[in-house]
Symmetry: C2
Subunit: 436 residues, 2 copies
C-alpha cells in the first residue's frame, strides 16, 4: 500500500488498520515518509478524527518508533502530566512530596511555549539545574534519591517528537486523538506503570470547554488501558491562573512555600489530589485518603522540601535557593497595581496573565527563544477576594523589557471587578479513572 | 501574518483574503513556504472548500506566479480543455478544424496518467513530433500556420505545476476549487480570451456524478468571468469511451478518419459542438450553427486534415502518417473478441477499457513511465449496438506486455449484454456559459 493511499483513506473518513498506521508513523520516523505526506495526513486526522482503537494504535506506533524505558526494578512507577496552564507549578510540589513518601518519581517534563509555562524552565530558576540527563544518569539518580525531573530524551517516542514539531507548523495541533497519543506515547515510552493526568479546562487552557476536556481525558484513559496502564485524569479549572505566582522563579518560590505548608490553597489542593492518586497507584497507600494523609505529613515534617533540595542538588542546581528563596533570580523592579475602588475580583483571565508574562520575558513566543527567569506576575487578589481602595491586587516583576507597558496593561485588563460578593470558583470539575 | 495562521484559518472554515491566498501561493512558488505547510493547507481546502471569490483569487495568484502570454496580436484566441476521459481525442480533431476556419489555436496539452490518456502522447504517435516548444517557437509557429499543440511551458503558472505535483502525493486532488483553479490558471496564463471546456461525467471520468460536474463547470465559468474571459462548459457523458479507439496511435488514426468525414458519430458530435463554440468566441461565426457549418465544410474540403498535416510537420513529426495512417505505430498482435451469443451491448465501462489500455502499455501508472504508442483497444460495438453470435465486438492491439492477459479479461468484463434492444445513451448532458 502506498502512503498516499493511507492519506486518502483517512481523508475519506475510513478507519485505518494497525498496519496502515505503522506504515505512515514508523516510515515517518525513519525518514521514508516525507513531511508533506505526514502534514496532509495530520490535517485529515484533524478533519476526520480517529476512533479509540486507531488512537491506541497510533500511540503504540509512536512508542515503538524508539526505546522504551524499563523501570520495573524500581517497583510501580507512577508518572504525572498536566495539559498545561498558567501558574501550573504542581510538579514542583507533588514530585518531591510523592518521592518523600517512598514512591519513585522519574518525570520527563517540557519547556514553556506561548502563554503556557514549562516545568523545565521553572526548575532552571535554580542556577545550574541540568535538564538534559542521559538515560544512564536518570537511572542512577532514580536509584540514589528516588526522584528525577528532566527533559525528554531523544530516544523515547521519536515519531512523537517529529510529529509534534510538524503539527506546530501545519495548523494540526488541535485534534484530540493527536494530543492524547502524543502525551500517552511519552508516558508509556518513559516506563510508567500508571499515570495521573491533570486536564486543564478554561480560558487559560488548551481545552476551552469541559466537553472537549472530558473527551481528551476519556481517550487518554482508554489509551492507557489498551497499554496495560492505570490512568486517572482529573479535570481542573484553568480560567484563572493556579496559585498566585506566574513566572519561573516566582513559581519556584511559591512551590517551596507550598512544601512548607504556606502555599495558596488552590495549588495545595490540586497537588494533594494528584499526589494521593499517585501514591495509590504506586501501592504506597491503600486509599486516596491514606495517600493524602501521607502527603500532608511530608509537608508537616519537611520531607517534601528535603526531597526538592536533594533533586536540585543531584541535578547540579543551587540547592541553597531551596532554603532561601530570596536567592532565586529577582527582577529589577516590582510594579504594584492598586485598586481604584473597593471591589470583589469577579474574573481573572488566565490567558491575559499568561500573555503578560510572555511580554515580560518570562515566556517564549517560539521554540528556542531565551527567557528571563526573574520576571512575572504575582496575583495578590484572586476571584472572590475583596480589595479595599488603594490596596495592591497584583505585582508585576519586570526587568525593563520592551513589552513591559503592554504587560502592565494586560494584567490590569485581566481583572474584572464587581461591587457585590463573588463566589470562589470550583477547582476540580471532574475525574475519570481506568480502575475504580 | 504567519503562514501557519493562514492554514489554521482555512482549517477553521474561514474565508481567506486575497492577501492571505497570495502569501501562501506566491510564497510556495518562490520556495519560501515549505511543502508541508502547503500540503496541510491543501487538505484543509479539500475539507473546508473555497467560495467563488477565494477560488478566483487562488487562480489569479497562480497566474501571477509566472509569465502570462499576450496573444492579442493574433486576434481573439480561444482555448479548449477537456477534464479527461477514455478515448478522448477531441483536440486532434477540433484544433485543426478550428484553425482551418481561420481562428488561431495555441493549445497547451498534457500527458496521460492512470486510465486517462493525454493529447501529447497521442500526438507523439507521429514519429518525431515535439511537444516541448519554447514560447518563442510557439509564437513563431502560431504566426506561420495558425496552430500549435505543445506541452505547458514551465514559465506559465508555475505555482500550479508545483501544487499539482504535491496534490498527487498528498491525497488532495479531489477538491473542486483546486481542480477548477488548476485548469483555469493555465488557460489564463496561456493567453486565452475565451475557453471551451468539456467536463466529462461518469464512470470513466474524474467527476462521477452530474452534480459534481455541474459544480466544477459553474466554478470554472465563474473564474473565467472574474478574469474577463468568455467561457462555455459542455457536460458530456463519459460512462463509455468516446469513439471506438482507445490507445495513442489508434486514436490518432481515428482522429484522422474523423477529419476525413469517416469518424464515429459521438466523436464527431462532441468535436463539432466544441468547435462551433470556439469559432463563435473567436468571432469567426455569428452563431453556433454558422460555426458548425464552417467546420463541416472544413471536413468536406479537407481543410482540417491539411491543418493537422501542417501541425505535425511544423512540430517535427512524420506528416506522411497523416495521409497514410497505416504508417502509424502498429502493435504486433490484434486479438479479436467475439460474442458468445447474439445480444445488445447494454453497458460499456470506460474505466475498465482505460485500465486495460494501461495494462497493454498504452498508459502509465505513474509520471515518467514510458508508454507503447501502438497498443490499445478498438471497440467494434458500442452501447445500443447488436452483435451476432461469433461477431467481433472488440479488438485488443497488443505487444506482448506482462499485463496482456489481464487486459483481455478487463475488456471482456467491460461489456454488459442484454437480449432486448438498448437505447443509445445521451452524449451531451448540459451546458453552462458565461455569455448567453
Amino acid at each position: 500500500m502506498r502512503v498516499v493511499e493511507i492519506v486518502e483513506r483517512k481523508r475519506d473518513g475510513a478507519k485505518l488498520s494497525a498496519g496502515e498506521i505503522d506504515r505512515i508513523v514508523l516510515g515517518y520516523a525513519k525518514g521514508e515518509v516525507p513531511d508533506y505526506q505526514m502534514a496532509a495526513f495530520l490535517m485529515a486526522v484533524v478533519w476526520r478524527g480517529m476512533d479509540d482503537e486507531e488512537t491506541a494504535q497510533l500511540t503504540d506506533a509512536m512508542v515503538r518508533s524508539g526505546e522504551r524505558l524499563d523501570l520495573s526494578r524500581f517497583g510501580r512507577v507512577v508518572d504525572k502530566h498536566s495539559t498545561g496552564g498558567i501558574g501550573d507549578k504542581v510538579t514542583l510540589v507533588v514530585a518531591p512530596l510523592v518521592a518523600a513518601c517512598g514512591a519513585p518519581v522519574a518525570k520527563m517534563s517540557g519547556r514553556g511555549l506561548g502563554i503556557t509555562g514549562g516545568t523545565l524552565d521553572k526548575l532552571e530558576s535554580f542556577r545550574g539545574y541540568r535538564v538534559d540527563l542521559t538515560t544512564r544518569e536518570l537511572l542512577a539518580q532514580l536509584e540514589r534519591i528516588g526522584i528525577v525531573v528532566t527533559g525528554q530524551t531523544k530516544e523515547l517516542a521519536p515519531a512523537d517528537g517529529l510529529m509534534y514539531a510538524l503539527r506546530d507548523q501545519t495548523g494540526t495541533v488541535p485534534a484530540i486523538p493527536l494530543i492524547a497519543s502524543s502525551i500517552m506515547s511519552k508516558k508509556i515510552a518513559a516506563g510508567a506503570h500508571a499515570v495521573v493526568l491533570d486536564v486543564k479546562v478554561g480560558a487559560g487552557a488548551f481545552m476551552r470547554t469541559l466537553a472537549r476536556a472530558k473527551e481528551l481525558a476519556r481517550l487518554m484513559v482508554a489509551i492507557g488501558k489498551a497499554h496495560g496502564l492505570e490512568v486517572t485524569a482529573e479535570l481542573t479549572a484553568m480560567d484563572a491562573p493556579l496559585g498566585r505566582a506566574v513566572g519561573n522563579a516566582l513559581e519556584a518560590a511559591e512551590a517551596i512555600a507550598t512544601l512548607r505548608g504556606e502555599g495558596p490553597s488552590d495549588l495545595r489542593e490540586v497537588a494533594l489530589a494528584a499526589g494521593a492518586e499517585m501514591l495509590f497507584y504506586a501501592r504506597r497507600a491503600r486509599t486516596r485518603a491514606a495517600g493524602r494523609a501521607l502527603l500532608e505529613a511530608a509537608i508537616a515534617d519537611g520531607g517534601g522540601l528535603a526531597k526538592l533540595r536533594a533533586l536540585v542538588a543531584a541535578q547540579g542546581g543551587d540547592a541553597t535557593m531551596v532554603d532561601d528563596p530570596s536567592r532565586l533570580p529577582r527582577a529589577r523592579r516590582v510594579e504594584e497595581l492598586r485598586a481604584e475602588r473597593a471591589a470583589y475580583v469577579a474574573r481573572l483571565d488566565a490567558a491575559g496573565i499568561g500573555l503578560a508574562s510572555v511580554r515580560l520575558g518570562a515566556g517564549r513566543e517560539k521554540k528556542g527563544d531565551p527567557i528571563d527567569h526573574a520576571t512575572g506576575v504575582v496575583l495578590r487578589a484572586k476571584v472572590g477576594d475583596r480589595v479595599a481602595k488603594g490596596q495592591v491586587y497584583a505585582e508585576v516583576h519586570r526587568d525593563d523589557a520592551p513589552g513591559d507597558a503592554e504587560a502592565l496593561d494586560l494584567v490590569r485588563r485581566a481583572f474584572s471587578w464587581k461591587s457585590e460578593r463573588v463566589a470562589r470558583p470550583k477547582l476540580v470539575l471532574g475525574r475519570l479513572t481506568s480502575s475504580r
